[in-house]
């Protein structure tokens, strides 16, 4: 996947991220992201034969919790407060702009 990031790649990434960018932004980010990607080109030169893939940046594993229902222990959080902070509600539902079709997964 080497090679510079062109403007169409930036526009596509912006669309997927729901960002609206000006033309000036697009050209600026194309240059900046190309530079970022070039660092990976440098990294690719390292010989990784025989090295285990790194699956997580911190070397821990098996952090689990027991299957016991528990009230939220986060300071000040209540679901009603969260609902009250929503931009729009319909009864106890979050109300969002109309979505058509079905979700799938």
């Amino acid at each position: 996947m080497a090679g510079p990031i062109d403007e169409s790649a930036v526009r596509r990434a912006a669309k997927l991220a729901r960002l609206s960018l000006s033309n000036a932004d697009v050209s600026k980010f194309a240059q900046q992201l190309s530079t970022v990607i070039s660092y990976f080109e440098q990294l690719r030169q390292v010989d990784t034969a025989g090295a285990e893939p790194l699956n997580h940046p911190i070397e821990i594993a098996n952090v689990t919790r027991p299957d016991e229902p528990r009230a939220v222990h986060c300071d000040g959080f209540t679901i009603d407060a969260a609902l009250a902070n929503a931009p729009d509600l319909h009864g106890r539902y979050f109300r969002v702009p109309g979505v058509f079709g079905d979700s799938g997964s």
């Binding site: 959080f77 679901i79 609902l83 106890r92 539902y93 109309g98 997964s105």
Partner: protein
């Protein structure tokens, strides 16, 4: 499943061999009390947005933590699907922009699923068929979008984060009936092993078949484009959607010659009323999930010892148990479900058998009068709440000839009645043999006593005995008749084997006397 079969039920088309190629994706909701990555209760039917926390809402800084029970149930499922369990499994973000997942990604498993490369068998028309399993991975369910309102969508996040196991088969299925039978067998096994409740009405199990056709015309092979039918929540709709797609794809190929190329897979929905699949609106761009490892969640490394422990303590899968019951209890295959399907009853049968009684007798009693007692109360045999020892003792008395079959059924009825009494509830043990004695149902093996009944039967029927001795053709009937008289005189208590022997001895003695005189 490897043999190529010509699909039947299709309009006959000269020289064409049509082979449907079907794979299934199955989502199973796991039987946990809480969600996959937070401690919110996983409940069906609660008020909207009452089971949601910062993790469910995708609030910044919220930290997901893996539910240990979901891992355990997934390993159990992996074992039931004959998969290898990963030594290292990790979590990935699947980008997905939709309001039912406020994080804008779903936590799933991309390249290192918890289980892979297995198989699952089902039987159809007495034949065992095997479908290979490609993988099974853990993920979280989305919330619910309600589209019933004009101009807006209402979002309930109670379901968001519910643990799901997605099972993916290889495309080893070749007709709608096999897909349905496979799905039914899988649903039963999931429920049997306590992996998930697998209640179809509650949407706890959903199917997504991938379907296309291979059409062979002599040397030519054409393939129709693959269609995935989304979110089927009944066996009927799974069967109907596949049947419909097979016909639709064949027609489309005949009329327009459409064949598949890499990447032109499409999604269709199912209309349960019209029984047709319908094209879903194509997105402007193909899905771009941009999977990448979730930095919030460290990997899980189930060690071999823990996996062996989970597999060792899980219930015996119903498929394995069925085969064993047919073999060990000498029952016909058609009777197996009555003993296997209710896990507590199957466990009870095994527990009683382990006490060292004749298994065939025990199974026969389960299938006859015990089943009748349970049915009369609309419960399972285990629901009768009698200890395993009672079932074993009754079978033992029956197979050793201490009671006859009718007496066994009578005693069973009495045992069930008495199990409800205060004394028994207070802990007084139920003794089958003392109950049999109390009811006067024990068979006697006292030869002198039986000889008395035999002599009386001969005396009362002297004429018939004489006729039988004179005419050997009548001898067999006379033996049976005399045995009946003995049983009647003894009130059914005479051991039939001993009575038979005594009758035979007496007939021989009389025949000898007649010959000498």
């Amino acid at each position: 499943m490897n043999a190529r079969r010509v699909f039947k039920g299709m309009p006959r088309i000269a020289n064409l061999e049509i082979q449907p190629i079907i794979g299934l994706e199955i989502h199973v909701q796991l039987a946990t009390r809480t969600k996959m990555f937070c401690a919110c209760a996983a409940e069906f039917g609660a008020e909207p947005n009452t089971r949601a926390c910062p993790v469910c809402l995708g609030l910044p800084g919220a930290l997901p933590v893996v539910n240990a029970q979901a891992i355990e149930l997934a390993i159990r499922a992996g074992a039931a699907l004959n998969c290898s369990i990963a030594r290292l499994t990790k979590w990935d973000r699947k980008s997905y922009y939709y309001p039912d997942l406020p994080k804008n990604y779903q936590i799933s498993q991309f390249d290192l699923p918890i289980a892979e490369r297995g198989w699952f068998e089902f039987s159809r028309e007495g034949e065992t068929r095997r479908v290979r399993i490609r993988r099974a991975h853990l993920e979280e369910d989305a919330g619910k979008n309600v589209h019933d309102f004009p101009g807006f969508t209402a979002v309930d996040l109670n379901r968001a984060g519910t643990p799901l196991l997605e099972i993916v088969t290889e495309p080893d299925i070749h007709c709608a009936e096999d897909a349905r039978e496979f799905a039914i067998a899988l649903q039963r096994e999931i429920a049997y092993l306590g992996i998930g409740e697998a209640n179809m009405q509650k949407g706890q199990m959903r199917f997504e078949p991938n379907i296309n056709l291979e059409i062979r015309d002599g040397e030519q092979l054409a393939k129709t484009p693959i269609v995935e039918v989304k979110n089927l929540n009944s066996f009927r709709s799974l069967h109907g959607a596949i049947e419909f797609e097979i016909r639709r794809q064949l027609e489309e190929w005949q009329e327009r010659g459409v064949t598949g190329a890499r990447g032109n897979k499409s999604n269709r929905g199912w209309d349960d009323v019209r029984m047709v699949t319908v094209a879903q609106r194509e997105k402007e761009e193909a899905d771009d999930y941009r999977y990448f490892p979730d930095p919030d969640l460290p990997p899980v490394t189930p060690d071999a010892r823990r996996v062996a422990e989970i597999v060792g303590t899980m219930p015996e899968p119903s498929g394995v148990r069925t085969a064993r019951f047919i073999r060990e209890y000498q029952i016909p295959a058609k009777d197996a479900p009555a003993l296997v399907d209710d896990r507590a009853t199957a466990d009870l049968l095994d527990a009683a058998a382990a006490l060292g009684v004749d298994r065939a007798t025990l199974a026969r009693q389960f299938l006859s009068f015990w089943q009748m007692q349970a049915n009369a109360r609309q419960i399972s045999i285990a629901g009768l709440r009698l200890p395993a020892g009672v079932f074993a003792e009754l079978a033992q008395m029956s197979s050793s000839g201490r009671i006859n079959a009718t007496a066994a059924a009578t005693i069973a009825g009495e045992l069930v009645r008495r199990s409800d009494t205060a004394a028994v509830k207070a802990g007084e043990p139920l003794s089958v043999s003392s109950l049999a004695a109390e009811l006067g149902l024990l068979q006697t093996r006292d030869s002198d006593q039986i000889a008395g009944w035999v002599d009386a039967a001969f005396a009362a029927n002297a004429k018939a005995v004489q006729d039988a001795l004179a005419n050997p053709k009548k001898l067999i009937a006379a033996r049976g008749f005399l045995a009946g008289q003995v049983m009647k005189a003894s009130g059914g208590k005479a051991d039939p084997k001993i009575a038979g022997e005594l009758i035979e001895q007496k007939l021989r003695a009389l025949a000898g006397d007649a010959a000498r005189s």
